[in-house]
């Protein structure tokens, strides 16, 4: 697969979701800010990677490692706003602090922040995210929104994230322990990003509940 096509698509997808969420959002909610922030950061990160890769000799790894911490924290905050349960909100807060502590400890032990992908941090952040999304989906299931769950914004955002992170988890674990062509990873990542962004676009354009 052509690397430029891949980069272009990886940039265009979050950018489209961001533009639609900012300017064509038909369902305004109290967590739109964090969705926009997440999409904006996703787009900015890809742009930065592209810039560093093409115009500088700087390593891309530290930015990817920072992304692995900041992006999940934004998403946790988004779900913090979605949830109505005080106990679950406290749990999200606790898990976010736990992730930051884990990130620091991981770096103190491995000491490879500038040279290697922080796989353990990524793994922990993904597991927390899957747990949070599952609880949010259960909350939607128990609420009145279930009546029209396909018109629920939080359902589509949760679905998008779940459809990206769950299938990607075994892929990233395999890539950590096996030497596989990077192109394969790119193709799969691109497909998953497409699915995730489709869900985000749907959430902004065709939903009417929280």
């Amino acid at each position: 697969m052509n690397i430029y096509l891949y980069l272009a698509l990886v940039l265009i997808l979050p950018f489209s979701s961001l533009v639609i969420s900012l300017f064509f959002n038909r369902n305004k909610t109290n967590y739109d800010l964090y969705l926009n922030l997440g999409l904006g950061y996703m787009f900015f990160n890809e742009l930065l990677n592209l810039y560093i890769g093409v115009y500088t000799t700087l390593p891309q790894i530290p930015f990817a490692n920072i992304y692995c911490l900041i992006f999940p924290l934004i998403i946790y905050r988004l779900f913090y706003n979605i949830s109505n349960s005080e106990i679950f909100r406290k749990r999200i807060k606790f898990m976010a602090i736990g992730l930051m502590v884990f990130f620091i400890i991981d770096n103190l032990i491995q000491r490879d922040f500038f040279t290697n992908f922080q796989f353990h941090t990524y793994l922990v952040s993904t597991l927390i995210l899957i747990y949070i999304v599952t609880v949010i989906l259960l909350q939607i299931m128990k609420s009145d929104i279930i009546h029209e769950y396909l018109r629920s914004k939080s359902f589509w955002i949760s679905l998008g994230l779940l459809l990206f992170y769950v299938p990607f988890l075994p892929v990233i674990i395999t890539f950590e322990f096996m030497v596989v062509n990077f192109e394969i990873k790119n193709i799969i990542t691109l497909f998953l990003i497409m699915v995730m962004n489709f869900c985000f676009i749907y959430a902004s354009l065709w939903t009417k509940h929280r």
Partner: protein
């Protein structure tokens, strides 16, 4: 990409797709199942609320009727009795004509007193509960014949058994409303009421030889709406049918919810 890498790509892609499809399938089937359950629960709650409303409405009406019944019995009835007593104590009048007038008035008063008492009985739910549906209906038919407005008949098939007390009262009120409709609107000369006791409940048919009625639901008056809401409360059914030869045939089906009641 060499051959191994292509195999890897296929393997990864299939696994990812498989995970995605399973996720979507599980998620949507669970959500759809929960949605159906939610809809059913909502409908049940609405139905329950409707029944509660009907129950409250019926209770209010019963209370009102009870007050009227007490008023008739304790106040008007007493006044009529006193008037009758006083008339009876009048000294013998010199003329035959005056004596005849007093006796006639006494007769009228006796009839009014009897009617007031029977009306008071039929309005009071306690007496319906005490007498039972069959006896109370019999009294109602007698009252109807006494006023000589129309010729009413009442017959029963099957072996009568007591129903739930509250249900008997509601059924009795439905019959009263039906009779009242016949008197007010049907212009009938004959009225026939039939009770058929079956194993699982009671079928009541009422028919008259009047002018018939508009049976479309949009044209139901307060009386018919009351009947329908009472039937709903009983979980029964009612059907109005204009007969070819004139008049209306009404069928009420009441099914016993708790068969033990039959043996009560």
């Amino acid at each position: 990409m060499d051959k191994t890498q292509v195999i890897y790509l296929i393997l990864f892609s299939v696994s990812v797709l498989l995970i995605m499809v399973s996720l979507v399938f599980v998620l949507f089937s669970v959500f759809n199942k929960r949605r159906m359950k939610f809809i059913i629960e909502k409908q049940e709650a609405e139905k329950q609320a409707e029944i509660e409303m009907a129950k409250i409405r019926i209770e209010n009406q019963e209370n009102l009727l009870k007050s009227i019944s007490w008023e008739l019995h304790d106040n008007i009835g007493q006044l009529l009795s006193v008037s009758k007593m006083q008339l009876s104590m009048l000294p013998e009048q010199p003329t035959d004509l005056s004596r005849k007038m007093v006796n006639d008035t006494l007769d009228v008063l006796s009839r009014v007193l009897e009617d007031v008492r029977s009306l008071s009985k039929s309005l009071n739910t306690d007496s319906v509960g005490f007498m039972g549906l069959v006896k109370a209906t019999g009294f109602e038919i007698d009252r109807l014949n006494r006023i000589k407005f129309l010729n009413a008949k009442f017959n029963i098939t099957g072996k009568p058994f007591p129903l739930k007390n509250d249900d008997e009262i509601v059924l009795f009120r439905i019959l009263q409303e039906l009779i009242s409709n016949v008197i007010k609107h049907a212009k009938a000369s004959e009225f026939e009421l039939h009770f058929h006791y079956a194993n699982n409940g009671l079928v009541i048919t009422a028919q008259d030889d009047g002018i018939g009625m508009d049976i479309s639901k949009e044209h139901y008056g307060i009386g018919l709406k009351n009947i329908v809401s009472r039937i709903k409360f009983l979980n029964g059914s009612i059907d109005f049918h204009n007969k070819n030869e004139g008049g209306v045939l009404t069928s009420i089906k009441y099914t016993i919810k708790d068969p033990d009641v039959m043996n009560a």
